[in-house]
Subunit: 353 residues, 2 copies
């Protein structure tokens, strides 16, 4: 098997570089055909690496970067000015083919801008979407777009649905994944202009298994495998999920602590409760893939630990082994062919009239 | 004090007419200056009424309606064809001044259309928004718009903020309520086109206490008192709140039931836990007001019981006692004056150049 080279931003994440180094070492021990490239402050990375032994050092490379893009920095300015940052250097390696994928738990804005500008889009892709893997009651769901394109167009959403389907089918191994569009009611005539215009495109698309609208209330229950929306709505969905869970947890904890019975009962029930809720821990499921680029870019959660980074690395390996980009390219070409055909038919119809 | 007349749709809600009749009787016992008008099937209403005694029968009127608008009916068609339905008749009573407010737990779509078409807008109001009262960790928040205007314009959102502020200040009794706009980041330059264009309008508006953007994750924690957004996003927020809470509850329950320790601990802790989470029960807080109309229209939750209906009736009484519509009218007139002044200044500036 061909050796895959994965570039990892060792400066990204709340626990960088420790989490990144730990994740890389873990993945190298697990996989033979993998080379890791750690980007960031060489001294800091090497002092973290010194804590580990027994890993294949020959398959780990450290590339020193003298700059760092901070979380709060305006993304466009950061990408264009910090040429020696881990994000810019990692993206350039993907562009040049020196790395097959780039993972970063750093600034989402910089990753989105860098993906478009430095890595570049696959031919035929209108806009690359960020897809988030959401844990639900029934397993994993891909919410796409959750960060990249806030004022989206119907044709973009159609491509998100197609790319998302390919990803879920091949990486999450769900056959004929159910694709739904986020809406405010189940009926076809409901929704805002974007949804109303996108709905018929999705319905006509034979390449996907479109099941119609999904209301937000059915998302946590696992009502679809690929959930298509614009990035503004996608962000609201993700953040409400997170915020509601956190608030319920805090209020419940306070309630239990307010009485002796609550404290006793809570202590007894804690273990089985935690076990059942662990399914919702998003760290177990890797990062958010930025799809439609010439190489894979994965945004890992800011709070990632070593295990989460290792999962994101596995995700990249799966992405390449299943040739997702080859499949996306094929689909986009078929779609372009289909659009041309439609135009030809319209022209012919026009001249016949 | 003047007697207020409140029309109540006795055919709306999952438990109609029982919940509506119970709520009306309860409110009549509590308030002297109140007259209730129950609209719906006379026989069904009277057979429910027969279960109660000791209430002021002279202040309760039953108006028979031979038709009923179903939940799934297309709203515009329903409103125009079912002239003898409780929703159409109740709205007309408000329009003619025969009732001061109308409450219904029926079809949201029909209530929104009926409000605009049958009751009509206050002068100066561009679009009437539906405001939902959301229970949060810190108390109540008004989410406005959560159902009426999906493709909104910046000037509409500005009015939603102003009307929402007046409502929250007078009905929820929160002084100088904190107004925030739903956004995908805290910075002013973030957001989609609608948010970017609305932000400066809100910032300039001296009539409200604008605190900037709110991210969805901070909504359940109670980060603002009036949360402004378009109806598509508002619906996503409300439904994600509901869906996430339901899913966590189901998964936690299953987790507890899966082990003996879980069952024992859960049973012991149930009472204090339920007590602390009761703050989130939306039924305690009345219905969703449709603001900016010539009379008040309140959409009660479909699952309302008698207590929830009684709370919605109290809400209407408060609305009138605080003269919310007088205050909204005043604000809209001041705003129109301000816009005129701005135009005059621009013209003068133009001719001076």
């Amino acid at each position: 098997m061909e050796t895959l080279k994965i570039a990892l931003d060792a400066m990204g994440g709340d626990k960088a570089p420790a989490c990144d180094v730990e994740g890389a070492v873990k993945a190298l021990k697990e996989h033979d055909n993998l080379k890791m490239i750690l980007l960031g402050d060489e001294t800091a990375i090497k002092s973290e690496l010194a804590k580990f032994s027994g890993y294949p050092e020959d398959r780990l490379e450290v590339v020193h970067c003298s700059e760092k893009i901070e979380m709060a920095e305006p993304p466009v300015a950061a990408i264009s000015s910090k040429q020696d940052s881990s994000i810019v250097k990692g993206m350039r390696m993907v562009r040049k083919g020196e790395a097959d994928a780039f993972i970063s738990a750093g600034s989402t804005g910089a990753i989105l801008v860098g993906g478009q500008v430095l890595v570049g889009r696959l031919k035929g892709v209108e806009r690359p979407p960020l897809g988030a893997l959401m844990p639900t009651e029934k397993g994993m769901t891909l919410l796409i777009d959750c960060g990249a394109n806030v004022d989206a167009r119907p044709s973009w959403l159609l491509q998100f649905a197609e790319m998302g389907s390919i990803y879920v089918e091949n990486v999450l191994k769900i056959r004929r994944p159910r694709v739904a569009i986020v809406n405010i009611g189940a009926e076809e005539e409901k929704g805002n202009t974007l949804v109303k215009e996108t709905f018929p495109l999705l319905k006509e698309d034979k390449a996907i298994n479109f099941i119609g609208s999904i209301e937000a209330r059915d998302i946590p229950a696992g009502g679809a495998d690929v959930i298509v929306t614009d990035a503004f709505s996608g962000n609201l969905i993700l953040k409400m999920y997170e915020g509601t869970a956190n608030t319920i947890y805090r209020v419940a904890k306070k309630g239990l602590k307010s009485s002796v019975l609550g404290m006793i009962g809570g202590a007894i029930a804690m273990k089985p409760l935690k076990k059942s809720l662990r399914a919702f821990d998003s760290k177990k499921y890797g990062g958010a893939p930025l799809l439609g680029l010439r190489g894979l870019v994965v945004k890992a959660h800011g709070s990632s630990d070593g295990d989460a980074i290792a999962v994101a690395i596995n995700q990249c390996l799966d992405f390449y082994r299943q040739d997702i980009n080859g499949k996306i390219k094929e689909r986009m070409e078929a779609e372009a062919e289909h659009m041309k055909e439609l135009k030809r038919m319209e022209l012919r119809k026009g001249s016949a009239e």
